[in-house]
Point group: C2
Chain length 246, copies 2
C-alpha cells in the first residue's frame, strides 16, 4: 500500500447558485475527475460573490488541503471577484498578465475593451496553466486553481488539471445490491467496518426501485483489501442475497 | 420595503457526494424553496460522514445564520452520524424519542431491530416537525433542521419546512438576454450597480446558444426597484438589443 492520498477542496462562487436560479454542475464533475487521479475531495463550500468571503475561504481551504479549486467569478463583470479574493487570501496584489493581455487583444482585436482586459488580471505570482489541446490558460496561484463557472468550460479545463496532478493510485469501488433494508443490514456492516478500517463502507437506500433496496459500496486504493471487504460482507448475507454485485 | 431577509445555510453530509459516486441533488431544490419563502441561502458546505466535523460545522453555521438545514446521515447505519454531530454541536446528549420509537415499532412490527431503532435517536431537546400530509417527523433542534439525504424524501419534507418558516416577502427576479459579451456589457452594468445598490445584478454568459450570449438578472424583494434597475439597464443598450426580456 502507498501513503495517504493527496487532498483537495472546492470553493464554488456564485449568487445564482445559492438563489436557486442556476443548478450547480461542476462539483460532481470535479469529484469524479479527482477520484480518477487518486486525490481525495474532502470539502466543498458554496458562497456568494463577495471578495472578503472568498479571501477568507481561500486562505482557510488552501492551507488545510493539498489543492484548492475555485469555480466561478473569473469573467469581466462587477460580480467576477475571484481573482481579487484569491490575491487577498495570499496577501498579494492583482496585476495585468502580459501573456493574457496579448491573447485577449489578439482575440478581440479592435473590439477589445477595458472590460475584456479585466480577464488579463491575475494574482501576483500566478502561473498560467495550459496544454496543447486546451490553449486558453487557467490561472493557478500556488495550490489554488481558478476554474471557470460555466460548466462547459469547466469541463474543458479538467484535462489541464489532470496533466499536472495526481501520481497516486486511483480509488476503486465495489458495489453490492440487496433487497434488505438498512436496519437489518446494520449488524453485518458493523462487522465489516470493524474488520476493514482501511476500506470505506457506504450504505445507500434506494427509494422505490423494484430491483434492490440498498446499495452497499466498498472503496479504497488497495484492490485486494476492497475485494476482501466486499467478500466478507457477501459471506454474511442470508439466502436469496445479494441481488447484484459490481 | 421591509427589513433584512432571514438567512440560511445548508450542511450537506456524505462521502458518496465528495467521491463523485452520487450527484448532489438537494441544494438546488432547497435554494429554490427558501427563495420562495423569502429566506436567503448564504452558504452551503459539503463534508464527509465525520461526527467531529459535523459538530464543528453545525456549531458555526447555526450560530451565524437564522436557519441551518443538514442533508444526509439520518439513516440507521454506521455512516449515519448526523444526529450525533448535531447533539455534539449543542453540547447535548443523544436520547431515544418515545414517539419515534413507537412509530418505528408500529411500522416494522416483529421485524423491528436495534438497527431500525437507531432512527428513534434524537439530540436531547429536539422537536419533531410534521404536517398532516407529511406525517413522518423531521427532527429539528433549535434552528437546525435534520433533513434526509435521499432526494425523493428530501423533497417530500420541504412542505414541512415551508409550513413553519418564511413570513418575509419572496424574492423576485427579472432577466434580460442580449447578444453582447460581458466585456462590452461591463460599463453598462457598472452604471446600474452604482445606481441600484439594493438590487442584485447578475451576468451569466451562455456557451454556444444561438439566441443570446449573456443573460443579465435583476433580483430583489422590492418589485418597483427591481423593475427600475432592469429598465435603467435596458435604456443603456444599443440598437438591436435586447433579444428578450423576462
Amino acid at each position: 500500500m502507498d501513503g495517504q492520498p493527496e487532498t483537495a477542496a472546492a470553493l464554488v462562487i456564485g449568487n445564482e447558485l445559492l438563489s436557486g436560479k442556476v443548478e450547480e454542475a461542476n462539483v460532481h464533475v470535479l469529484a469524479k475527475a479527482l477520484r480518477g487521479l487518486g486525490i481525495e475531495l474532502r470539502r466543498v463550500v458554496l458562497i456568494l460573490d463577495d471578495v472578503e468571503e472568498i479571501a477568507r475561504e481561500v486562505a482557510a481551504l488552501a492551507a488545510s488541503h493539498d489543492w484548492l479549486f475555485t469555480s466561478g467569478g473569473v469573467g469581466p463583470t462587477h460580480d467576477d471577484v475571484t481573482v481579487m479574493g484569491v490575491a487577498k487570501a495570499f496577501g498579494v496584489g492583482v496585476v495585468e498578465d502580459a501573456t493574457l493581455a496579448k491573447m485577449l487583444r489578439d482575440h478581440y482585436k479592435e473590439r477589445c475593451t477595458p472590460g475584456h482586459l479585466q480577464m488579463a488580471l491575475v494574482p501576483e505570482g500566478a502561473t498560467l496553466e495550459s496544454t496543447e489541446d486546451v490553449r486558453w490558460p487557467t490561472i493557478r496561484l500556488k495550490n489554488v486553481w481558478l476554474m471557470p463557472g460555466v460548466p462547459e468550460i469547466f469541463k474543458m479545463k479538467l484535462p489541464v488539471v489532470a496533466g499536472r496532478l495526481g501520481s497516486g493510485a486511483a480509488f476503486l469501488s465495489r458495489a453490492v445490491y440487496t433487497k434488505m433494508d438498512e436496519g437489518d443490514l446494520r449488524p453485518l456492516l458493523d462487522a465489516v467496518v470493524a474488520r476493514f478500517p482501511d476500506v470505506g463502507v457506504g450504505s445507500y437506500p434506494k427509494w422505490q426501485d423494484p430491483s434492490y433496496r440498498t446499495k452497499l459500496t466498498f472503496d479504497g486504493r488497495d484492490a485486494a483489501r476492497v475485494d476482501a471487504a466486499r467478500d466478507a460482507f457477501l459471506a454474511l448475507l442470508p439466502a436469496g442475497e445479494p441481488q447484484r454485485v459490481e
